[in-house]
């Protein structure tokens, strides 16, 4: 269960969000607050995994709260939920350590996804631009295979040679070889066979 705390001064939005998140079996809402000050008091006493934080709030705004949380309890992941949407704000929020960013228009389904992803260690920013969602997810460390590497490994696992894989993926043999080399380095596999085995074990192929 991911322990989630919600800080927002917009009462009806908060209630709707809590109601939705309660239906998700992986998420447990452990509390909520009206502003940054209340949120900081809760952070000090309660174990919290993910903090949902509005930016525009009375008493203490979201950015100040974020800085305070990251200073005292850096292990608490912060997902910013805001109706504000401009680029200097986003850059500044990321620099102050916010792991997630969602504009309130993005819909509730995506918010629960964002909570899960940042809990897994991703950085996940999504911004709406002329009603089109644009998203950045960032992950530091780990042996995570990229979608293209997974495609390469799938073809190899089906018994295709590097050359056939290259033709199927419309790439050059050299590119396929580089993908394999980098994927092996990430997973620590000594050869292609071991790489395929690791990919199967991870369930990505």
């Amino acid at each position: 269960m991911i322990k989630v705390f919600i800080t927002d001064d917009h009462q009806s939005f908060k209630e709707g969000l809590i109601a939705y998140l309660k239906s998700d079996p992986e998420i447990e809402v452990v509390g909520h607050a009206q502003n940054g000050k209340e949120a900081l008091q809760a952070v000090a006493v309660e174990p919290i995994d993910v903090m949902l934080l509005d930016v525009d709030m009375p008493e203490m705004n979201g950015e100040e709260t974020l800085i305070a949380i990251k200073k005292n309890k850096p292990e608490v992941k912060v997902l910013i939920l805001t109706s504000l949407n401009d680029k200097p704000l986003i850059d500044s929020l990321r620099k102050n350590g916010a792991e997630g960013f969602r504009s309130k228009e993005s819909g509730i389904t995506d918010i629960s996804n964002a909570i899960k992803r940042i809990h897994q260690g991703y950085i996940d920013y999504l911004v709406h631009n002329d009603d089109k969602p644009n998203r950045i997810t960032i992950r530091y460390t780990g042996s995570h295979l990229s979608p293209q590497e997974i495609k390469v490994i799938k073809h190899l696992a089906e018994g295709n040679s590097t050359k056939v894989t290259a033709e199927l993926m419309r790439l050059s043999v050299h590119t396929i070889e580089s993908h394999c080399k980098i994927a092996r380095a990430k997973t620590g596999a000594k050869n292609v066979a071991e790489l395929v085995a690791i990919a199967i074990r991870q369930g990505v192929v």
């Binding site: 089109k132 950045i136 419309r170």
Partner: protein, 450 residues
């Protein structure tokens, strides 16, 4: 290139010993080299000859006291000529014609001995013991003074001829009732003189052959050295040229950056400042400040613009925040105006990347990002930064419309970067794309372990 001019040293033949090297220039240099090599030995030999000649004078005046005045003339004259030759040996003429001077020396020595022989004979002495003096002369000239074969041969022929001549001149005054058998003595002495002459000729031949071989070998070594120097110079010039090209590339980059900044300053900041100024002036004239907040808003925008321009100045960004943060920061900046999902993975980046490598990767990233935003229409972009085997790879894959990599119009900037990555950073840059199948870019650069 004069590569095959002297591939192996020439062999010395009997022809060379008789007539010199066929190449006149070589022969000239050989003569000078010969003098330089033996001048000290030759001068020492001349000194010893003078000394020996004078020592024999003291022996002679004890053995033949009644001949003293005539002997003094003989000994002093010959020694004097020796001393003169020794003096001349320090001049340039001697350096060029040493062999002839030495031949002359041999002749003087032989004539001196024969002259004394005649003196003794005229006073009734037997001259059978004086051929060793001639042998000594021949030996000194050949071994000490290093006379060449031709000159040695001339000298020996002359000495033998002179000996025979002196014998015929001397034979007359000797009384026929003398107990000495002159013919026997003559044949006996001649045998020794001719024998020693042949020996010294043989020695002179081989000494000269050795010297000439040495000379050629030395010439060959000199040639090889010169050749090596040429090669080193050529390579140095090549490296200098390469360096100059690289510096030019760097300067080009800096120049571009400068142009970009000045253009952006002029286009956005300059124009907007002019507008703000006009607005403010209009308000001042009309004494109506209702538009002031709008002007303040415009100035706020300008501040943002200036910040953006300086942010794009990649070198400063990198120096301040490092490669991963700079990449992240660029993405947040383009986020509100792109239509793609960016998935970024930073894997195990614990190696140290030189600032040149970081800058290069960042430039590649910016160029790729630019191409993706402008041309690709991609909706998914995967960016990876992976460290492996002392290398760092940046992989950027998009699902956009791709392009034909063989089309020269595409990615001139990328082509320049590839040249720099391959030439300066021991890396490679792969760009793989086909129309309709997205683009894959893999930049690999050597990372320096801390």
């Amino acid at each position: 290139m004069k590569k095959n001019m002297i591939s192996s040293p020439e062999k010395v033949s009997w022809w060379n010993i008789l007539f010199g090297f066929r190449d006149g220039y070589n022969e000239k240099r050989f003569i000078i080299d010969y003098f330089d090599r033996f001048k000290v030995q030759v001068r020492f030999g001349l000194l010893i000859s003078i000394f020996i000649y004078l020592v024999f004078y003291f022996i002679d005046i004890n053995v033949f006291p009644e001949l003293e005045p005539k002997l003094i003339v003989n000994r002093l004259l010959v020694s004097g000529i020796f001393a003169m030759i020794l003096g001349v040996s320090f001049t340039k003429v001697f350096a060029r014609h040493m062999q002839w001077f030495l031949l002359f020396f041999g002749l003087v020595a032989a004539v001196g001995i024969l002259w004394k022989l005649r003196l003794l004979n005229q006073n009734g002495y037997d001259f059978s013991f004086f051929y060793p003096g001639l042998i000594l002369t021949s030996a000194i000239v050949t071994f000490y003074l290093r006379v060449r074969f031709v000159h040695s041969a001339l000298l020996n022929v002359f000495v033998i001829a002179a000996y025979i001549l002196v014998f015929w001149v001397c034979i007359e005054p000797i009384p026929s009732d003398s107990p000495i058998n002159l013919t026997q003595t003559f044949i006996n002495s001649l045998f020794f003189i001719v024998g020693s002459s042949l020996l010294s000729l043989y020695a002179a031949y081989y000494l000269e052959k050795m010297t000439r071989n040495d000379f050629l070998a030395q010439q060959h070594i000199n040639y090889l050295n010169d050749h090596l120097q040429d090669e080193v110079q050529q390579r140095t010039a090549e490296l200098r040229e390469e360096k100059r090209k690289n510096i030019n590339l760097l300067l080009d980059g800096q120049e571009k950056e400068r142009k970009r900044i000045s253009k952006e300053l002029h286009d956005s900041v300059g124009c907007q400042l002019a507008l703000v100024k006009m607005n403010l002036e209009a308000q001042q004239q009309a004494q109506d400040y209702s538009g002031l907040s709008q002007s303040i808003g415009a100035v706020t925008d300008l501040i943002k613009d200036v910040r953006d321009i300086s942010h794009n100045h990649s070198v400063f960004v990198l120096q301040r925040v490092g490669l991963t943060n700079a990449i992240e920061s660029s993405l947040y900046q383009i986020l509100p105006r792109s239509c793609a999902h960016f998935n970024v993975y930073f894997h195990r980046l614990n190696g140290h990347l030189s600032s040149a490598a970081q800058l290069m990767l960042y430039r590649v990233f910016q160029e790729a990002l630019n191409n993706i935003l402008k041309h690709s229409e991609a909706t998914e972009v995967d960016i990876q930064l992976v460290q492996h085997d002392q290398q760092v790879s940046m992989v950027i894959c998009d699902n956009g419309k791709g392009f034909d990599v063989n089309d020269a119009h595409h990615g001139l900037g990328m082509h320049n970067m590839r040249m720099r990555i391959e030439n300066q950073l021991e890396g490679e840059l792969i760009i793989d794309s086909r129309p309709g199948y997205g683009t894959t870019l893999i930049a690999t650069i050597k990372s320096e372990e801390l």
